[in-house]
Point group: C2
C-alpha cells in the first residue's frame, strides 16, 4: 500500500500516516469507495500501534476524506456527496461553497475541493512562495536578542510597533493617528471580536450586502442587530442609512468584498457626512487589501478624509506578509478608544511578541516596502494575464474590481445561472466561486462568480481561462 517516509518515522507517526493517506486520496490513487486497510493490518504493516492508525483515520473522517461504514470499515468518500453532508450538518447560514470562499484557501483545498479540480481560482490565495523569508528571518533573528521578545506587550501591542504602523498607515493610506489609537489583534476577526465586545448591545451594525460573512456572524452572535444595506456600483448606499442612529456601518471601500468595486470619492463623502450628522454614527473601514492597487491614483481612505472622527480603520498583514502572520491593526477614533479603555484594556494582547517585534524590524529596514513594490507588479501581471485569457468571452462578461487585490468578479451574461457557471467550470476541472453565498438578503439576479489569481502560476491561469472559455462560450 504505502510506506512511511523514513525521516518522518520517528516524529509524528500518526500525522505522517494521515498525510500520506490524504495525498493518496487527493491524487486519485485511492478513488471514492476504496476501502482502507483495517487499523490492525495497517498498524502491523507499518510497525505502529493500532491507536496511532486510529488517530489518523479519525482525522481523515473528521475532515471528510473517509467515512465509516458500520461493521465494515473506513472508505474513501465521494467528494461530491461530501458537500451535501457538509451543508446539512454545518451552520445553516453557511453553504459549503461559502465556507470555501471564507476559509483559508489551504484548508478549503484540503477539506472540500473535489479530487478532479486542476485549477482553483481561490479568491483568498496569495503567492506565498514570493515572500522574502530570508529577510523576514533575518529580522526575526535580530529580535531574538531583544529581551522584550519573551515579555508580554501592553494589551494594545508593542508601543514601538504601533508607532511604526501609525507612520506607515499615514504614508501609505493617509490614515492620521497616534500610536495610542492603534490596537493590534491576532487577525481581523480577532479585532472585530473586540469591537463587537466593547460596543453597547443597542448599537446596530449596518453591513454591505454582499458581505464578509464572518463579520456578520461575529456581530450578530454578540447580540447586535445587523441591518443589510444594499450595494450599488459605487459601493454601500447611503439613503437607507438616513434616520438611523447608534449605528456602525461596516464597509470595504477600497475593494468591496466580494464584489470588487471601489467606492468613488463622492460616495465616500456622502457616507462620512451621514456619519457626521449623528452623535453615534460610525464607519468601520476594512481596508483589507489596500496595499495592492494597480491604478495610478488610489482613492484616499475614508479615515484620511474624515473630519469628525467617525472612522474605525482596519487592515491586516495576512495578504501582504504571510497568511501565518496573525497580525491585524485597528485604529480607533478617540470616543471609541475611551470605551475600549473602560471595558477591554486589561485583556492581554493576543499577538505573539516576537512577531510584533519582527514586523517592526521588517518595516523599519525597508524590506516590507520593497516586498510590496515587487508584489504589486507581480499581481498586476497575473491579473493582466487573467484578463487576457478571458478576452474571448468579452461580449458576455463584465469585469469588476480588476484594479486591486488578488481577486475580481465576473458578471456573466450568457444565459447561464450562477450555479451553471461554477458547475460547468467544475466539469472541466476549474473551480470558480459563486457570489450569492455572500448575500444576506436580496440575492442578485445577475450571474456572478469570483476568480482569485493570487496563488496561481502563469500556466495555470492560461489553462484555467482556456477551459472557462470552453465551458462558458455560447
Amino acid at each position: 500500500m504505502f510506506c512511511l517516509p523514513e525521516k518522518k518515522a520517528g516524529k509524528f507517526l500518526y500525522a505522517a500516516i494521515y498525510e500520506e493517506l490524504k495525498k493518496q486520496i487527493e491524487s486519485g490513487a485511492f478513488p471514492a469507495g476504496t476501502k482502507l486497510p483495517s487499523q490492525r493490518t495497517l498498524g502491523t504493516k507499518l510497525g505502529v500501534s493500532v491507536n496511532t492508525v486510529r488517530t489518523a483515520y479519525t482525522q481523515l473522517e473528521l475532515e471528510g476524506f473517509v467515512e465509516v461504514r458500520p461493521k465494515s470499515g473506513f472508505y474513501v468518500c465521494n467528494m461530491e456527496s461530501l458537500q451535501k453532508i457538509g451543508s446539512q450538518r454545518g451552520n445553516p447560514m453557511l453553504t459549503p461553497l461559502e465556507k470555501q470562499c471564507d476559509q483559508n484557501p489551504e484548508e478549503a483545498k484540503n477539506n472540500f475541493v473535489p479530487a478532479n479540480v486542476a485549477i482553483d481560482f481561490a479568491p483568498a490565495a496569495i503567492a506565498k512562495e514570493k515572500f522574502p523569508s530570508t529577510q523576514w528571518y533575518r529580522c526575526l533573528r535580530s529580535c531574538l536578542e531583544d529581551p522584550r521578545a519573551l515579555e508580554r506587550t501592553p494589551p494594545q501591542g508593542d508601543l514601538g510597533l504601533r508607532q511604526i504602523l501609525a507612520d506607515y498607515l499615514y504614508t501609505e493610506r493617509g490614515v492620521e493617528c497616534t500610536p495610542q489609537q492603534v490596537i493590534l489583534g491576532a487577525g481581523t476577526d480577532s479585532l472585530l471580536e473586540i469591537l463587537s465586545y466593547i460596543l453597547p448591545n443597542q448599537w446596530a451594525l449596518a453591513m454591505e450586502n454582499p458581505v464578509y460573512t464572518k463579520a456578520y456572524r461575529l456581530f450578530s452572535r454578540m447580540g447586535h442587530r445587523v441591518v443589510p444595506i444594499q450595494v450599488d456600483k459605487q459601493g454601500v448606499m447611503t439613503e437607507p442609512l438616513e434616520g438611523l442612529d447608534q449605528l456602525l456601518v461596516y464597509t470595504t471601500p477600497s475593494h468591496q468584498y466580494p464584489l470588487g468595486t471601489s467606492m468613488p470619492v463622492g460616495r465616500r463623502i456622502q457616507l462620512l457626512n451621514w456619519a457626521g450628522r449623528g452623535k453615534f454614527r460610525f464607519i468601520v473601514e476594512d481596508d483589507y487589501d489596500s496595499e495592492f492597487r494597480y491604478d495610478a491614483k488610489p482613492v484616499p481612505s475614508l479615515q484620511s478624509i474624515d473630519q469628525n472622527e467617525r472612522v474605525i480603520y482596519l487592515t491586516s498583514f495576512s495578504r501582504s506578509v504571510a497568511p501565518a502572520l496573525r497580525l491585524s491593526v485597528m485604529v480607533l477614533p478617540d470616543s471609541i478608544l475611551k470605551i475600549y479603555h473602560e471595558t477591554y484594556k486589561d485583556f492581554v494582547c493576543r499577538v505573539s511578541t516576537l512577531e510584533q517585534l519582527t514586523l517592526g524590524e521588517f518595516i523599519r529596514r525597508g524590506f516590507f516596502e520593497s516586498h510590496l513594490n515587487r508584489m504589486r507588479t507581480y499581481y498586476k501581471n497575473k491579473c493582466k494575464r487573467l484578463l487576457q485569457g478571458l478576452k474571448p468571452l468579452r461580449d458576455t462578461v463584465d469585469l469588476v474590481g480588476e484594479l486591486a487585490g488578488q481577486h475580481l468578479t465576473l458578471q456573466v451574461r450568457n444565459g447561464m445561472t450562477e450555479e451553471q457557471l461554477w458547475s460547468s467550470a467544475l466539469d472541466v476541472g476549474v473551480r470558480v466561486y459563486p457570489v450569492s453565498p455572500f448575500f444576506m438578503t436580496d440575492f442578485p439576479e445577475s450571474s456572478m462568480v469570483l476568480l482569485g489569481f493570487g496563488g496561481l502560476k502563469d500556466e495555470e491561469i492560461d489553462e484555467g481561462t482556456k477551459r472557462l472559455v470552453m465551458a462558458w462560450h455560447k
Copy 2:
C-alpha cells in the same frame, strides 16, 4: 533635563522620550507635581519635532503618569490620587486593585503601583529570568527550516502539536483525549471567548465565587446568564447546582483562583456525578497552574476521572513557559466539539504558527520537562521562604493554597479589615492583594489577602515578610 541615549536616537524617538521620562518619574527623580518642560522646549532641546514629544506626553498621560493642567502644561501625577481617577473612569465592575491582580503584573507595575512600593507580592508574577531561552531559541531556529512556519495551521492548531499536547496532558494530568479534541488559543481568555461564542445563549454559567473575573465578564457579555456559586473549603459547592440544567460550571479545582484551595477527590466526584445526571450539564476545568504542585500526590484532574464526557479541560503555557507565549489549550468532549465544528471551525487559528511549532519541539526534545522540574523546586523554595518569613504571625494567620502555583492566600485574624491589611502593608512599601474584588456577591466576612511569590528574589521575600510582620503584628 535629560538626554536621549545615543543608540536609541535613530530608532523610535518618541518611545525613547517616553521611556526616559517614565524612568525619571518612577525613580522619584521627578516627584509628583513636577512640571514637564513644554513640548516645544523639549523638542528643540532634543532636536526632535513637537509631534514626537506630544506622542510621548500623550502616552504618559494615558498611563496616568502625568496629567494636563489646562493653560499650564503637563505635570507629574500624585500616584495615590491616580488610583481614584482610575476607579472613576474605569469599568464599574473593576476596582483599580482588581485590575492590578487581573493584569499582567508588568503592566500593573508600570501603570498603577505607587512609587513607594519596594516589594510587590503580585499573584501572577513568575520568575521569567529562569526561562531556558537558549533552549527555546534553539528549537525556534530549527523550526525556521520547516516550510510550515510560514503557513497557517488548521483552525484548531497544528495537528502535530496537538498530538504532542494530547500525550503530554495524558502523562501529566491523566487527561484522555485525541488530538481532534484539542483546540489551541491565543491565551485562556481567547479560548473562553470561543466557548462563550459557540454555546447557546440559553445555557447559563455557574461560576465559583470568588472567581477569575475576566471569565465572568466574557460570558456575561456574550449574553449568558452567570450564576455565582459559593465556595467552601473544598471548593465549589454542589448543592446549589441541583435542579439546574443547561449549565456550565466554571471551576479551578487544582488551585482555586484566587483562594488557593484544592478540591478534594470527594467533591470532584460529587461535581462529576451532578453533571452526569443531566444531559446539558458540563464542567469547565481551568487547570491554569497545575504543573506546579508541591505536595507528593496531586489530586487527579476532573477530566481524568470523568466517566460521562462532561468536562471541558483548559490549561495554559503562560506560567510554565513564558508570559509572552500566547498559547493555551482546550480539550472538548465530543458533544461540545460537534457544536464547535458547526459554528466556529472556519475561523482562523489565532496562535502564531512558529510558536506552535517551537513549543512542539520544546516538549518533544524534553526541554519542557526539565524546565518544569527545575521550576517546581525553585517555586517550592520560594514558597517555603515566604512561609518561614510569615511565621511570627502564625497565631493570627491561616494559610490556604500553599502547595501549588505561585501564590497563596492569607486569612488574617488580627482584627484588621481587608483594607487595613493591604493599606498598612502599602505604608511600609509592600503590596499585597485584597481578595474581595474577586467576589461577585456574598463578600467574605474574614479578612483575606493574596501574596504571590513567583517573581520575587529571596532577599525581597525576606524583607517583604519582615515588613508585613511589622505592619500586622498586634
